[in-house]
């Protein structure tokens, strides 16, 4: 799938630690968003699979995946199926960012924040697509390899299960980093009873040690 989702400029500003800023910095973000929207297309692909519970953790037999650890267990406790998801801005974004790193590093930094915010927005759009398809079901929070104790090393298996190489051109390197850079994989549980928010807040965030918002006694808002 792909869609004409807009770059969420306010989110991008937040990523730049400039939440709510007006004036020049907002103008830069808006212009960059416009450039991105004309040159880059966010894409995603998803599939659903049954959940089984085994000794090694949560199993998704149709996807050939096992999710070890307590996070997956907790998140998917009440689910009988899950949707796997991969989202990317594609190699076009990486190229454009490289170009702007040479032209204007300030603009490249803005572009990077816009790209991150846009990737999240595309995840939201994909999630919405899933929600529409499963009306009557309740979706858990979205979570990804690398969150909590769900190992990042699952990336390659996630990509294989989604055929993300063929469908989206997304690959993982030897350290399980996704390429193109603005790519995300995620899993969303599908349940018959309402699912509370479990993954929000600083406790789940890998960046909590260094977070500038936290140091100032604030939160980033997610």
């Amino acid at each position: 799938m792909n869609g004409s989702i807009r770059v969420p400029v306010d989110e991008a500003l937040r990523y730049m630690r400039a939440a709510g800023a007006e004036g020049e910095i907002r103008r830069m973000a808006e212009e960059t968003a416009e450039t991105l929207e004309s040159r880059v297309t966010p894409r995603w692909t998803w599939r659903t699979c049954r959940i089984e519970r085994g000794r090694e953790g949560i199993a998704l037999p149709e996807a050939g995946l096992t999710l070890p650890g307590t996070l997956a267990e907790k998140m998917l406790a009440e689910c009988d199926a899950a949707a796997l998801l991969a989202v990317t801005l594609g190699a076009g974004f990486d190229r454009l960012e490289k170009e702007w790193e040479t032209r204007d590093m300030a603009r490249a930094a803005v572009m990077d924040a816009c790209g991150s915010a846009w990737t999240e927005a595309a995840c939201d759009a994909a999630e919405e697509e899933i929600r529409q398809r499963f009306q009557g079901k309740y979706l858990t929070d979205r979570f990804s390899p690398g969150y909590g104790d769900l190992p990042l090393s699952l990336q390659a298996d996630f990509l294989r299960a989604l055929d993300a190489g063929k469908r989206l051109g997304v690959t993982a390197n030897q350290s399980f980093l996704l390429l193109p850079c603005k790519s995300v994989t995620a899993i969303i549980g599908l349940a018959d009873i309402p699912q509370g928010a479990k993954i929000r807040g600083c406790a789940c965030c890998g960046l909590r040690e260094n977070c500038e918002y936290r140091k100032r006694g604030k939160t980033c808002g997610t």
Binding site: A91, E97, A106
Partner: protein, 783 residues
């Protein structure tokens, strides 16, 4: 040499194996050994359906994807090819070695070196050929660079026919931005036997792509579409066999002569195709072109070749090349692209520069950021081949000439890598002084190129511009030769134009007059400085007069943009009276440069650095710390300071002094890590404090960092890592650096790095952000 190629291929392998009960998560190629009968059953079904070639179950059988299976490439490939051959033998169909992407990205998009990709593919090709494959099918490719690696590997290992298909999406490009035209041009050049599309789209969506490929190749065109897209919940594909066959008729009319199916198709699809009658498509003339992945430039009009990337007479570029600084080249490339160049000449030949490593390095760096096709300009055949190998697309080569030695060494390379070539009309006796003799050399070059298998439209002739103030009668001879080559040989012509006016006052007057005459004589590819307004204006006008600029649109647009109150390039305006410091604080690049030039008339270079640049940067830095300005604004200030620094550097270079050197450090993103914008941001700012930074890039192995540190006597190394999985590589790099006899100081940073972690791995400093990095660097170098 036309080779016999099959017309009807097979359908999906993966879809069929899944239906036969392959366990999810299985590496499908391992079935060649663990369940050969399951694979054979699929292949026999396609043979019975009428396939004249079947692809062996070897799509992912490469050294990377098979790494953890316990099988070698040779085992899996020979087992797969053997199964296919046995099944094909029933009807005498062909058995193809199927070759897919490696699964990791090749430089510059990823970090797998090009030659490593070629090596991995060679292993596959050799195993396939040894096992007796009848053809090689390279498919589902997305990155043109990787596709080139596969085709080069095939050509260097076997002489089997090579069919190549790439996957395009609904935007009409591959995931990495390659156009159908670029794909066709590049792969035909490399010697593919058929090119086309597979996977990703259903047959209907493929029509415009097939049409574009057909318009850009003389080869047979392949279409192997999916049966539409799979449903994310049921996994079912949307198009049935009849709909598929009907759409394939349209694809045939658009030019697809070789047909089959990809994901979601099965033997019933092939059976239906076998019964369908397909129309034949017309073959329009293809014409000449060169390309990069994203841009294909046809040579059927006036095409501007940017001349700026050539160190002759350019001190700043010479210095950049000696310092291995490709960023400056990329900047020059971007500026010429913005000014309207169609192609960029790239020449890095300068005493002290190793062209064999520098030319491919420059090509990769430029292609990572700039879309235009490149003209590789070197007299060193070894450097030429190194650059042609990594060039992503169909390059132009500058140049071959009438000398036997040149013809013998250059033309085979041009042929092998499928480039276009500029032929200089000179030979062992130098540059002839008559048009007739230059024409004779042009003719000789053309004939030798044709004999080497290079198509006529890929031969461009340079009739050579001589300086009119020295050899006045020669200007007319050059123009006459251009006319003769154009009219009698019908070839494109190239001329380096600006040489004409050397040594004369008001050079531009003579240069533009000569350019106008040359264009009238038939010149199509002037090599000029596209950043010169007079030249580009003239070319815009010429395109109007020749009718190339339909309805004068580009011309009108060009001059509509031009108005006296035109904004400066950085889009910001400055009030009339402003200090240099203020210009920097406000991030006004143009203004900062201009004010520096003015200030240099009365003040010393280093005085400006110490009293204006650094304090302005410091003030911005403090505001950033206080949250009053944000990172992009800090960077804008740094870049304005850079514009000032460039002027200061230029001024020092003119006096023969070294630049403002406050110390040299190394920066690198550690092995395994590919997110490097944070590191690049730090570099931008540090450079504008006057530090020299050797940027080793991303995904850098510890040994490279250690070696550079040792060789260059570096005192400070900065390392970045973004993910927890790459922190061990950071620790290892620090450990090795600290084992050196004279260990450097090390600062580390990156999203997941903490003060405690930095200390625990033995780093001297933790830089939480770019400001911190500046403070640490200043402490290390200035005490």
């Amino acid at each position: 040499m036309e080779r016999k190629l099959p017309v009807l291929l097979d359908g999906a392998m993966g879809t069929m194996l899944q239906r036969s009960g392959m366990k999810p998560g299985t590496i499908p190629e391992t079935l060649n050994i663990t369940a050969p009968e399951m694979v054979a059953e699929v292949q026999r079904a396609y043979i019975r359906a009428g396939s004249r070639a079947i692809y062996a179950n070897t799509f992912g059988a490469n050294g990377l994807k098979l790494k953890d299976t316990g099988y070698t490439v040779k085992e899996i490939v020979s087992a797969g090819v053997r199964i296919a051959k046995e099944c094909a033998a029933e009807t005498g169909a062909m058995a193809g070695l199927d070759v897919g992407p490696l699964g990791v990205m090749v430089e510059p998009l990823g970090s797998l070196p090009f030659e490593e990709a070629v090596r991995l593919y060679r292993e596959v090709m050799k195993a396939g050929a040894d096992a007796g494959a009848d053809l090689i099918a390279i498919e589902t490719m997305s990155d043109l660079t990787e596709t080139r690696a596969a085709v080069i590997a095939a050509k260097e290992t076997t002489d089997l026919p090579v069919l190549v298909t790439m996957s395009f999406d609904s935007t009409g490009r591959t995931f990495t931005g390659c156009t159908p035209a670029s794909m066709a041009r590049t792969l035909e050049g490399l010697g593919a036997d058929a090119v086309g599309v597979n996977c990703s789209l259903g047959p209907k969506e493929m029509i415009p792509i097939i049409r574009e490929i057909r318009a850009n190749t003389t080869l047979p065109v392949i279409a192997k579409p999916n049966a539409g897209l799979p449903d994310p919940v049921t996994g079912k594909y949307g198009v049935n066999a009849e709909e598929f066959a009907a759409a394939m008729q349209e694809l045939a009319a658009a030019g697809a002569e070789i047909r089959g199916g990809c994901c979601g198709t099965d033997p019933t699809f092939i059976e239906t195709l076998a019964k369908t009658v397909f129309p034949a498509a017309e073959r329009p003339p293809v014409g000449g072109a060169v390309c990069s992945g994203p841009v294909c430039v046809r040579t059927d009009g006036i095409r501007v070749i940017g001349e700026r990337i050539n160190p002759t007479g350019k001190k700043r570029l010479q210095q950049a090349l000696l310092e291995d600084d490709t960023d400056y080249l990329v900047e020059m490339a971007i500026r010429q692209a913005d000014a309207g160049a169609d192609l960029l000449d790239v020449n890095v030949g300068y005493p002290g520069v190793d062209e064999v490593t520098m030319l491919p390095k420059a090509v990769k760096a430029i292609q990572a950021a700039v879309d235009l096709p490149l003209q590789l300009d070197t007299t060193n055949p070894e450097a030429l081949e190194a650059a042609l190998r990594v060039y992503s697309g169909k390059a132009a080569v500058n140049s071959v000439n009438g000398k036997e030695e040149s013809l013998r060494t250059v033309l085979p390379l041009v042929k092998k890598y499928g480039a276009a070539v500029v032929g200089l009309t000179l030979d062992e006796n130098g540059i002839p002084d008559t048009a007739e003799k230059r024409f004779a050399i042009a003719e000789k070059i053309l004939n030798r190129a044709l004999a080497a298998g290079i198509p006529r439209e890929d031969v461009w002739i340079d009739c050579l511009t001589l300086t009119v103030s020295a050899q006045q009668e020669q200007a007319r001879e050059t123009l006459k030769a251009v006319r003769m080559v154009t009219e009698k040989l019908g070839l494109r012509t190239v001329l380096g134009v600006s040489n004409i006016s050397f040594g004369l006052p008001s050079r531009m007057t003579v240069t533009t007059a000569f350019l106008a005459s040359a264009l009238e004589a038939g010149l199509t590819m002037p090599i000029v400085n596209p950043n010169t307004k007079e030249i580009m204006d003239l070319i815009a006008a010429r395109r109007v007069l020749t009718g190339e600029d339909r309805e004068c649109r580009a011309y009108v647009e060009r001059f509509a943009e031009e108005s006296p109150e035109n904004r400066p390039a950085d889009g910001k305006t400055a009030p009339a009276e402003m200090t240099l410091g203020e210009a920097i604080r406000r991030g006004l690049r143009n203004e900062a440069g201009k004010l520096t030039v003015r200030a240099l008339q009365t003040r010393k270079e280093m005085e400006l650095v110490e009293q204006e640049l650094i304090p302005a940067l410091e003030q911005t830095g403090e505001k950033y710390e206080q949250g009053k300005v944000f990172l992009p604004q800090l960077l804008s200030a740094a870049q304005a300071a850079q514009a000032a620094f460039e002027e200061i550097r230029g001024s020092l270079l003119k006096k023969g002094e070294k630049g403002a050197d406050r110390g040299t450090l190394i920066m690198a993103t550690v092995q395994g890590d590919i997110h490097d914008i944070g590191k690049n941001i730090v570099i931008t700012v540090l450079e504008n404090y006057g530090y020299r930074v050797r940027d080793l890039g991303r995904d850098v192995p510890p040994e490279t960092i250690v070696k550079e540190t040792q060789e260059k006597g570096i005192r400070l190394v900065g390392l970045s890592a973004l993910m927890t999985t790459t922190l061990p590589a950071m620790a290892e790099t620090v450990r090795r650096l600290k084992m050196l006899d004279n260990p450097p100081q090390v600062m580390v940073g990156g999203a997941v790095v903490t003060e405690d972690y930095a200390r625990s791995i033995g780093a001297d400093y933790y830089a939480k952000d770019v400001r911190d990095a500046v403070k640490i660097t200043s402490r290390v170098f200035n005490g």
